[in-house]
């Protein structure tokens, strides 16, 4: 509960001072190009990986990317790129 409140304050602060929200609220940045490429930044790591589903751990939630022939084009300390036939991007809270 208190985490959400802090995030709320952070978001308002970011809006007020025009600062990127992902920096202030420590949020994961997802950048999708069409339906075949997705870039992720500011995440914690991979929880599971199959060619149909990739589960990525964010700071306060999980991101489930499902599709066909999913492949991690690169995986580095800063970001990662997933390519393949993406069908669904799901946020799992908690």
């Amino acid at each position: 509960m208190w985490k959400e409140e802090i995030n709320g304050i952070g978001e308002r602060f970011a809006e007020a001072y025009s600062i990127p929200k992902d920096v202030v609220a420590n949020a994961t940045l997802l950048h999708m190009i069409g339906k075949s490429e997705i870039f992720l930044e500011n995440f914690k790591g991979i929880i599971s990986y199959t060619c149909h589903e990739i589960l990525v751990k964010g700071h306060d939630c999980k991101y489930c990317i499902s599709g066909n022939g999913l492949m991690i084009a690169y995986y580095s300390n800063e970001d990662m790129k997933i390519s393949g036939q993406i069908q669904e991007v799901k946020i799992i809270r908690g």
Binding site: G45, I46, I47, S48, Y49, T50, C51, M71, I72, A73, Y74, Y75, S76, N77
Partner: protein, 406 residues
Amino acid sequence: MQNKWTWYVKGYLTIRLHGDYVERFFNMCRMHDIFLWNIKKEEKDFYCSIAAKDYFETIPLLKKTKTRANVIHKNGIPFYVPFMKKRVLFFMSLILCLAMLYLVTDYIWAIEFIGNLQISNEELEDFLEEEHIFYGMKKEALDCEATEKRLRSCFPIVTWTSIYFEGTKLYVEVKENEKTEPVIEEIQGTNLVATEAGTITSIITRNGVPKVKIGDVVEIGQVLVDGSVPIYDEAQSIIDYQIYNADADVTIQTQMTYREQLERTHPLIQYTGNEHKSIFMEAFGYHIESPVLGRGFQGCERITQKHQVCLLENLYLPIYYGNICEKEYHLQYLEYSEEEMKNLLNDNFEKFILCLHEKGVQIIEKNVKIKKYNKGMELNANLSVIKPTGEEVEITEIIPGTDKKE
């Protein structure tokens, strides 16, 4: 992220991973700043690419996550070093060849003229020679724009020109004035002088003052039409001279001689049918020719076909190749009969007469004699002809005319 070529230069591995905690291994790699790419899963195994130098750093992580790794493929230049070590000479010559190619492409090795119809290739070649543009010169040394300007000023008929390179070839592209309007010449002032000695038979003056009349006997170099026209005042005395280019149709009756000797014995080339073919190569002033067995014809005709090496359409190199064909012949000396000699001399004389007719020369009288001499026969002809005369010569001094207008 570094690009594909950087990884290729540094060397990278394609590995297969198997285990229950491979995702954890990926996360640990990430925490240790080990870059992974092309991660994919096929059945139970994971495949990924990793930099060769990072692979040894992953060994403790593999142990910790109980993951088994197999190297599937080694890629990149570092893995070719042992292969290259065994073939040092090959790679050295390859590098040398590339270096030579790089050096050679800085020079001009071919020149082509485009669009010249009235100006001949030889004239353009002469112009380039004057401009010190030649095969084998450095491209940098050529100032295309300045040369274009000079080309336009040198050939007034050229309305547009472009000098450019494609590979090692220099293109000289010109556009000539298609309308054949006569170029207005600046009046410099010229006299018309006689080119032969003889008697004037007709004179029609367009410009200038005629200095001779029909029936006058003239010498070579004598002024026929004067380009300086006197201007008279009201008292009919000369106050000044106006300078023109003298122009007139003048014909002169003069004598011409024709003499031709024909020797009785004449050589005739007879091919034996023996021929030798060889190939050759030329580079940087060196000529290498394939040896031919039995070479050594005393008399032979040599036909050479030469080609320049050209890469990728326009990259001409200073290397030439081709073939040489030598055909053996013997010289056989034959003798003409008197009849043949007479016919030949007469034929040649007829051709000469025809040539004179084409030039507008009218023959009034001809005296032809054929006589024998110790080696053969000769034809002597004296012709009395009426032909156009007059050559433009620049006015150096004004010939004083009469003070009073006639």
